[in-house]
């Protein structure tokens, strides 16, 4: 059988002109999938390169935790060098030249006891 190019070409043209149309239900389903599966804005940005410092910072709990840690360190150093009256330890005895170390667990409650 030989080809019939005229008829075939015309049939192809008709097919091109009149494609099957998707239903509105299919369009709605596809759009719902597209929106449900869409990456969240900003989530696809490449992850920044993290060095050792940033990894340690992350392990501590980030910048707020690091700031708290720094404050506690400075406060500890200050209390160690200039202790309040009620704070007495071996280091202050050495620093201030006392020969003996006394322990008075109720020192702060003297007035309370006298009044009672």
């Amino acid at each position: 059988m030989t080809e019939d190019p005229d008829m075939l070409d015309d049939l192809f043209q008709t097919a091109r002109r009149t494609p099957a149309e998707p239903s509105s239900d299919l369009l709605a389903r596809v759009q719902a999938d597209a929106l449900a599966m869409q990456p969240v804005r900003g989530a696809v940005l490449p992850a920044p390169q993290t060095g050792l410092f940033m990894r340690l910072l992350g392990a501590l709990g980030g910048w707020p935790a690091a700031a708290g840690l720094a404050t506690a360190t400075v406060a500890g150093l200050w209390i160690g060098m200039f202790p309040p009256d009620l704070v007495s330890d071996g280091l202050s005895q050495v620093l201030y030249g006392a020969d003996t170390m006394t322990v008075d667990p109720l020192g702060g409650f003297d007035y309370v006891l006298l009044e009672g």
């Binding site: 059988m1 192809f12 099957a20 998707p22 369009l27 596809v30 869409q38 804005r41 696809v44």
Partner: protein
């Protein structure tokens, strides 16, 4: 920031897909409206079964949404990739079924045309579809891509993962087979009056 809807329409598929991957909801809607008709029409040509073509369309596009964040512009055309995925999904379904029942001709009525002309278009479409369904799967795919989708041989070769010569051979054999199948229907389809 979402682009205006009209501006999205100017972007090509890959650029729109890149915007989709950044979370642009307008791009999701534009891609849906642009790609769903193409994929559905192609699936219908290969399977001629509305329910199955709808399932294939939804599945093919789910695969596109999933791959969108890794899509690299310039590596492949979105349409080429979609034709390949769609065809593979259709072929899987066709292989699982011994025969796919032909449906009635889809509604193609164009109000701008006369009733007689619309009926003739539908009859011709149905005749072509019936003949296409009798071709081997790969011949049908090649003929549809070449003569209905209007693609060039290099792109068809990429979609079908074969050489351009094999594409030529498949389309030539497909057209010969179609002519043979439709030869007895010239008068019925209104071609003897041309």
């Amino acid at each position: 920031m979402n682009m205006p809807y009209d501006a999205q329409a100017e972007l090509d598929d890959a650029a729109l897909l890149a915007r989709y991957a950044t979370g642009d909801a307008a791009a999701a809607r534009q891609l849906t409206l642009r790609l769903t008709p193409r994929v559905f029409a192609h699936a219908m040509r290969l399977m001629h079964n509305t329910a199955e073509a709808e399932d294939v369309t939804q599945e093919a596009l789910i695969r596109l949404w999933r791959i969108a964040p890794e899509w690299r512009e310039g590596e492949a055309k979105v349409s080429t990739w979609l034709y390949r995925v769609t065809a593979n999904l259709c072929m899987d379904r066709l292989r699982r079924r011994a025969s796919v029942p032909l449906e009635d001709a889809p509604e193609l009525a164009d109000p701008a045309k006369g009733v007689e002309e619309n009926m003739q278009d539908e009859a011709r479409n149905m005749a072509l579809q019936e003949a296409l369904q009798q071709l081997p799967d790969r011949q049908r795919q090649a003929v549809v891509l070449r003569h209905i989708e209007g693609l060039g041989n290099p792109e068809i070769a990429e979609i079908m993962e074969i050489g351009p010569r094999a594409v030529e051979s498949l389309t030539a054999r497909g057209k010969r087979a179609l002519s043979a199948l439709l030869a007895g229907r010239r008068k019925e389809l209104g071609y003897d009056n041309d």
